[in-house]
């Protein structure tokens, strides 16, 4: 049983992983076909992984409704929202436009999903500013540098900021847009590059640990 429960899954991860790595470096038709096939398979498996999340969400909200837990009425809206997208999708075969006309799926996407998702992220604008106000205490030189970089970037991207810059520092001959471009192209790139190289090393090492079965926490217990 241990063979079926543990060793075959570990063999799957190792064979799939090593063949994927090898396929990248072997310029042959077979390796290209293999990568294409694996991409297709991965799409299918990921789609079922989504189903796992969906069933889990529905099960959790069904439990709340069944138990009449606090705020159970809101759980109904999860199902309403789901149906508001899926029913039109079934009716239109997943098309948002037909002959230049917006379908019922296009309507649901534009007036329900898009309105909700963009507002949800837009609300974060207020919280980001509020958090920044509370956390931007310039206690050190490093914090000051962070503040200046953020401030110049925010200031330079609004017309009022550009006007203030031009009236105060216009004599330098440098527009705020030039300064922003320099920050983004030079010192920010240096910081980002260091982080990306670090992440890359970490990702490669973790991937090797997964392929060779050293890291297997994702398999759970037993």
């Amino acid at each position: 049983m241990k063979f079926i429960k543990k060793q075959i899954p570990l063999a799957i991860v190792m064979v799939t992983g090593l063949l994927m790595v090898a396929s990248y470096y072997i310029p042959h038709k077979y390796s290209v076909d293999y990568v294409e096939l694996m991409n297709k398979w991965e799409n299918i498996v990921s789609a079922f992984a989504f189903l796992l999340g969906l069933v889990s969400l529905f099960y959790s909200h069904y439990g709340k409704i069944k138990r009449k837990a606090d705020g159970w009425g809101y759980s109904l809206f999860v199902y309403i929202g789901f149906l508001a997208m899926v029913v039109p999708a079934m009716m239109t075969d997943g098309r948002q436009m037909v002959d230049g006309q917006v379908t019922s799926l296009g309507w649901s996407f534009r007036y329900i999903y898009n309105a909700l998702s963009s507002t949800m992220f837009a609300v974060l604008a207020f919280y980001i500013v509020s958090t920044a106000y509370r956390s931007f205490r310039i206690k050190s030189r490093q914090a000051f540098v962070l503040f200046v970089a953020a401030f110049v970037l925010i200031l330079g991207k609004v017309p009022l900021g550009q006007m203030i810059w031009d009236s105060l520092l216009g004599w330098t001959g440098q527009g705020v847009a030039d300064i922003i471009e320099w920050i983004m192209q030079v010192p920010a790139v240096a910081g980002k590059r260091g982080i990306m190289i670090g992440i890359a090393i970490g990702a490669i090492v973790t991937s090797l640990k997964i392929i060779f079965g050293i890291e297997k926490q994702y398999m759970g217990k037993d």
Binding site: I12, E42, A84, R110, Y113, N114, R193, G194, A200
Partner: protein, 243 residues
């Protein structure tokens, strides 16, 4: 879509937008309803994306045409659902290990070429064209290369950070702070552009052709808050003011 549907859409979008924004004042039933609706709509949207882009064309149609090879990933995928049955949940390992193997195998060459080699090349390459570079370009290239090295020193924990190493890693912190500041500034501006978009939509739906949807819904919500504070009065645990 008829004009009536467009007007109904305007009311729907304006209502949902205002309900979500109402959280800025305090938590309330309208926000919670819209929040749960978003969760369901998001799942519904991705469900139909997977249905019409993966399950139907990549599983169902090949099966109907006799290509039973797709049963392998389908069974691997279905194995994930056994997570809900504790007695046989180990079967889900087959699907998970496939995804992990694929992801790990793909990550090694992809990360090596894009995030590792390309970044090192990007820091070094400008120096191959020194003769054609202006003094400012040379200075910038030196700052990028030097800054990258300083940041790497900051993340290098195999030696104790003291003496020269500490000084170099301290310079690295400044480059990191500039990057974090720039990233923060960009995030703020991206969120604000979304905010302008929502305000623009609310402005559109406030027109006579939408029967003043934004104004009416906004007034109705304000009236609810006023009535609630006078009549309901008592603040429940769930309806804390937003911070």
């Amino acid at each position: 879509m008829s004009e009536t549907w467009m007007i109904a859409g305007g009311w729907m979008a304006a209502g949902l937008t205002i309900f979500l924004f109402s959280f800025l004042y305090r938590d309330n039933p309208f926000f919670k309803a819209a929040e749960h609706l978003y969760l369901g709509a998001g799942m519904g949207w991705w469900f139909q994306v997977y249905l019409f882009n993966i399950w139907k064309p990549k599983v169902w149609e090949p099966l109907l045409s006799g290509d039973f090879f797709v049963l392998i990933p389908a069974v691997l995928g279905l194995s994930l659902v056994t997570q809900f049955i504790p007695r046989i949940s180990w079967i889900s390992r087959y699907g998970f290990t496939f995804m992990m193997g694929y992801g790990a195998g793909l990550a090694i060459p992809a990360t090596l070429s894009t995030d590792f080699m390309s970044q090192i090349a990007g820091a070094i390459q400008p120096f191959t064209a020194l003769a054609t570079m202006t003094p400012m370009m040379i200075f910038n290239s030196l700052v990028v290369a030097g800054g990258t090295i300083c940041v790497l020193f900051y993340f290098f924990f195999s030696v104790e950070h003291k003496g020269a190493v500490k000084k170099i890693s301290n310079i690295g912190i400044y480059f990191l702070m500039i990057y974090f500041g720039a990233a923060f500034g960009n995030t703020v501006m991206a969120r604000f552009s979304l905010l302008y978009g929502r305000f623009d939509d609310l402005y559109t739906f406030s027109g006579a052709n939408y029967f003043y949807a934004s104004q009416i819904l906004l007034i109705a919500l304000v009236a609810y808050f006023i009535l609630h504070s006078f009549l309901g009065g008592k603040k429940t645990e769930e309806e804390e003011p937003a911070h």
